[in-house]
Symmetry: C2
Subunit: 201 residues, 2 copies
DNA sequence: CCTACCGATCGGTAGG
DNA sequence: CCTACCGATCGGTAGG
């Protein structure tokens, strides 16, 4: 499926509608109406409603994966595990706040995928989450993180960050980067070992 | 609407199905099938599909409210803000893990409520969240919490705890109370001021 | 709690 | 991208 400008428009409005009403709660005609075309006309651009959902989720998964890899590669050698975790958290929050609609669909609507697609995404999500687990486990060894269960701590942090989609609005009273910074700080506090004698501010 | 045993059964299976497929993704006939009755027969017990959703959400909201109030009242006088926060977090996690289906519906499906009901729940959710904000703000004053933005910190903690519904299974490898304890610990670490010289384990 | 049925809406196709 | 249309399913009602 080629990515035309119209196709991207369709995925934009579909993301917004899926975010607000869920995949099952959004009809093909709802999407078409937002584009000022007839419901049936949408099928000149997409194969099916599921095809739209899949493309949104697949591309958003890639954004998360690429952002995490890029962020880790930019780190200097010898960075502590806590520093690697901070980088991962920052990258994740950046992807979420850059496109709250697509992030929300990725987080909440993957259950609506067909079985094969859902299995693929479950696998990629697990591999993504493993980066967080591994770095938290490494932090318990190098001393930069507290001795917490890495599986539970990674789940806690990722669901906390994903919780942004439940309330974040790009035009709220606190700016995007400020919210991002505070979220990173809170997530890091949950697992980072406080430097002895350091400030808690 | 009287709460008969059958009525509770209906809300049990509806919670499970809404949790798995969403409100819009679950049909009245899906609920009926799980009860081995005809779709139309459900209307001998409920007024509408929306009525079922509303009852689940209304009662679950009450559980959270009552649990928080009860927990706070059981605290000794003179408890620090951080101790009050710990109590609130424990109560919240307890309600979530006691019935993951209902908690999930409460957290995710309130958008599907009719406008008036949705407004009422939005108000109650806000009042509930305010308890977390207030205690975090008090912690910045009495020194038991770090100087974080109470609005953002409360949102962070509550969405993190609610994130349990995304992955928690009552029969998983880690028991209910163990997961609860670790979630409480992680949430508290995010805002509690570390005792100077204290252990980070 | 059942059978029989209602109008509305669903995702999608045919043919232009 | 349109009109016209398809069978299936939706939430809900009537009458027992």
């Amino acid at each position: 499926m080629v990515e035309t400008a119209r196709r991207r428009e369709i995925e934009d409005v579909a993301s917004t509608l899926f975010h607000a009403h869920g995949y099952a709660g959004t009809s093909v005609r709802d999407i078409a109406r937002a584009l000022d075309i007839q419901g049936a006309s949408l099928y000149a651009h997409v194969d099916s409603k599921h095809d739209v959902l899949w493309t949104i989720i697949d591309r958003t998964a890639s954004r998360f994966e690429v952002a995490a890899d890029t962020a880790l590669e930019a780190l200097r050698d010898g960075a502590t595990a806590a520093e690697r975790l901070e980088t991962l958290v920052q990258a994740h929050v950046g992807v979420v706040t850059a496109d709250i609609g697509r992030a929300s669909v990725f987080v909440h609507e993957w259950r609506s995928l067909a079985p094969e697609r859902r299995a693929e995404i479950a696998q990629r999500r697990d591999a993504y989450e493993r980066r967080f687990r591994d770095v938290i486990a490494a932090g318990a060894i190098d001393g930069s993180c507290a001795a917490v269960d890495p599986v539970i701590a990674a789940a806690f942090i990722l669901t906390a960050l994903n919780g942004l989609v439940a309330w974040y609005h790009p035009d709220g009273r606190v700016g995007r980067s400020a919210i991002g910074d505070r979220y990173v700080e809170l997530a890091l506090r949950a697992v980072r070992r406080a430097a002895s004698g350091g400030s808690t501010r």
